[in-house]
Symmetry: C2
């Protein structure tokens, strides 16, 4: 507060600041507000003191394997990573212009997008609280941009409701709040909740509902200039003597309830989707690329593991090395092995672990999921409908349409996530050829965006149950399988330990893989030091 | 659907698509979904056919004046713009490193930020439905990036509640939904609303509330793994054998109601703040700069208007030209005049308009507002608290703290909007010296971010009532003043017509200025053609 002694307003200012009570409590309380208290990721591990000459072989160059490799090399281990594919990064994978891959069944999936356009085959968005991912992204120089999950101008769509006309997300959100507030105000005003809410709270509750729900003086949620300030107008306010603003009309509660759209709102309220979210500039694969670059000296690509055999002094991994054309059978031996191969694949390999570990490995089925990327000649969602980022949800099998959070306002082509679903709808898409998936996504999507027909340019897709190196999307855990098998699956089985999103409480997310890699590295290091 | 004839799954696919009813209604309905139906800005005007030799003088090179200038020049008019300041853009203004200005009272306000850091003195965020602004930004090549209004990790703060400890926005939002849903479920379950909700809707209402509010099987909103999926955890789920996730605890309804934080949520539900919002990369001033560049041949800077006199054949504007040091009195004459000078200034000038116009000009007081920008040595809000963008609201006089939406994850310094308020709190800041405003913002802000003390680097501010060229922030309209004076204020008074945000239904926003400029240009063009 220097430089204020001469000011006539100093007393006023100090008085203002003096009113700021609670100060004494603040500093201590603040320490609990940071991320440290809530996160499983505290800060980068600094493992030290690997036993001299100790070696570790890591199977799989996805994020779990490379996180462990990166940290254990720092600790002083001799680390080798075997990877089945011709690239690192695993499911942290972006399909770019010119990419192609062969899926189970022999079909070749191509990506013929224009340069710069892409589809994230796997993960595509990062919540802020995935501290592990964001930590390594910053450390490895992966540029980030906001990922727009919630866009009030995106749609909710139900085939059999509103004559199939998509409704604006913002309208549905505002109207649900309005109708709920009107109903609760009514119940409060007739005294129905007098047992639950005391008199003082009752007044504040009514005041809160009136503001939050945008209710009129009689606690009704109706079309008005006031409600339009929250839900938008049929004709927006203008300048000069432009036509008068015209209020919009709320969707009746009955129609909302019958449509089932309310349940879609959880896509915006779930913690993992809270703003601010992020995506790497240029696609999620930039993360896989960065880990691969940081670990490249340790990685052998094109190495198909066929057998994992441990004995009292180490682990021998047999694999087929395809780096020089036809495969050559090789072996690699190390003191310890971290295996991140998805359980869907691992359970088909020859591995000598304990019976209980084998049971745990067999107890985790893999979720099915599909994604279709559709490239259009122009970004009509922006140009015609002013939709910049965000996600539309529908009850059609495509399940959702996501608008790109990158490259907004650009001229020329752009890519929509034209379909992304799980379970039954995914099994249907799994059974289609690559071309049919695109055709189906177009056939559905045009009910939401009629521009599809005229503007389509090319498409690509990933159906995870046809991806040879995962045979599924991610491990599915139930409460009971967690109870029975999880600790065993994560335990160190003599000289072998598993890692990956399937060995985490955050399945399907990269954060789960990274935290699993960190935890595995830490525990294995401890065990290795004891074993000396 | 080509290439599908041979596929065994074709029938299945067609059957899936056939279920998509409502299709016939869609195409027609879609035409009402675009922006065209709701916006006052349809598309760029194409005014044509200015009377030969017709001239227009425009007073003020803000967005209203330059929009009119740009469009009327295209129509063929000879257009000149007089601007008081040494730059165009008006309130579309960014304070950059090295900038300084003199405010009423003679104090010089400096901006000593590091290169690249800035404070938007005026507007700072753009809703998607401000089509006029976005149209010209795209046309003039102003690069955009998302503006993050809502960040669940930002805070709500009440000095006298929760011991002064800020609460996470996402927690408050989730808990309000939970408590409201629990209360309404209770009322519905005891039959209090049976007259308002029929039986079928009642079941769907309960189902909806259970999902939206994250209620348990007994319709209670309680701490649990399930509610933590929506509001976050005390300890997040981890990988491997990391400590178990620990659910967070909802804030009791009573404490939320008493705190008054509920009312802050309107900052995130109001239509003007719906996602997706935008900001120009590098500051809002990029818009003013772009308009100035596009119109530069028409603009005379450093021209202080002293008198505006119309007669039957034109308008003569007297002004002081300070482009060559000491001022030189000059006049400029044109057939028509568009005056965008803020009413707070204009009412003090010599102008011969009708009595009713004079009354209208005098009927619009100007809102007071202040902004303080605080530069810190490091982005501690990101590094310590994982807050990337968004706004914290408090009942302290600083009113809010906004975290930058640009440059996220960068090392080094960054700038917070450390205070931004209106009305009473602004009058208090107006009475402080530039240094005191910074000191006061720091003194308050440290109750939310204790890092302020250690990390502060420099500050700057704008208090709009001390800005000589506006003498206030924007025009305030009441329902009754609109009724009585608005149409007159916007009317063409013989050969003079006013424009600006004060001549719009969107006061304070750039969109209001642009739409006013467009509407004025259109009406004046019509009048000018009739006058020939």
């Amino acid at each position: 507060m220097k430089d204020m002694l001469q000011s006539p307003t100093r007393r006023q200012l100090l008085s203002m600041i003096g009113k700021t009570a609670g100060a004494t409590a603040m500093y201590q309380a603040m320490t609990t507000l940071g991320f440290a208290s809530e996160s499983s990721f505290k800060e980068e591990m600094e493992l030290k003191g690997a036993p001299p000459g100790a070696s570790i072989i890591i199977l799989g160059a996805g994020l779990a394997g490379l996180t462990a490799a990166y940290e254990l090399r720092k600790a002083g281990y001799s680390v080798k990573v075997l990877e089945y594919q011709n690239r690192g990064g695993g499911r942290s994978w972006t399909l770019n212009s010119g990419d192609k891959y062969t899926e189970l069944g022999g079909e070749v999936v191509t990506c013929d997008f224009e340069e710069g356009n892409y589809l994230n085959g796997g993960p595509w968005r990062l919540p802020t609280h995935h501290y592990g991912v964001l930590h390594y992204c910053k450390k490895f120089g992966v540029a980030m941009e906001p990922f727009i999950q919630e866009n009030s101008r995106a749609y909710l769509h139900r085939t059999d409701h509103f004559n199939g006309v998509p409704q604006r997300l913002g309208d549905v959100q505002t109207d649900i709040r309005g109708h709920v507030s009107e109903l609760l105000s009514k119940a409060v005003n007739v005294g129905s909740l007098d047992r639950s809410v005391n008199k003082e709270d009752k007044e504040k509750l009514l005041e809160g509902l009136k503001g939050w729900g945008v209710l009129d003086k009689d606690y009704r949620y109706l079309s008005s200039q006031e409600t339009s300030i929250y839900r938008g107008y049929d004709i927006n306010p203008g300048g000069g003597l432009m036509p008068n603003a015209k209020p919009s009309k709320p969707i009746p509660l009955n129609a909302l309830l019958q449509s089932g759209m309310w349940s879609d709102l959880s896509n915006f309220t779930v913690y993992d989707h809270h703003p601010t979210m992020f995506q790497p500039v240029g696609g999620m694969g930039k993360i896989g690329d960065a880990f691969t670059r940081e670990c490249q000296e340790m990685i052998t690509l094109n190495a198909k593991v066929t057998r994992i055999e441990q004995d009292d002094s180490g682990v021998t991994v047999s694999y087929v090395d395809s780096n020089e054309g036809s495969g050559v059978a090789k072996t690699e031996r190390a003191d310890w092995c971290i295996c991140t191969i998805p359980l869907s694949v691992l359970t088909q390999l020859d591995i000598n672990v304990s019976k209980s570990m084998k049971q745990a490995m067999a107890a985790v089925p893999y979720e099915t999921s599909f994604k279709v990327g559709l490239e259009f000649k122009r970004r009509f969602w922006e140009e015609d409908e002013w939709i910049y980022g965000g996600v539309t949800y529908t009850d059609m099998p495509i399940t959702q349409i996501s608008y790109p959070s990158g490259g907004m306002f650009k001229d020329g082509s752009g890519v929509l996530l034209g379909g992304y679903g799980f379970g039954e709808t995914s099994y249907k898409f799994n059974s289609l050829t690559p071309q049919e998936r695109i055709d189906a996504s177009l056939a559905y999507g045009k009910y939401i965006h009629p521009q599809y027909t005229k503007e389509f340019r090319s498409g690509t897709s990933v159906v995870w149950h046809r991806i040879p190196w995962t045979l599924g999307c991610y491990g599915i855990w139930s409460d009971s399988s967690r109870e029975q098998y999880y600790d065993t699956l994560c335990s160190i089985d003599n000289r072998i330990v598993l890692a990956g999103e399937h060995c985490s409480h955050i399945p399907a997310w990269q954060e789960g893989a990274i935290l699993s890699g960190l935890d595995t590295a830490k525990r294995l290091h401890k065990r290795a030091k004891l074993a000396v």
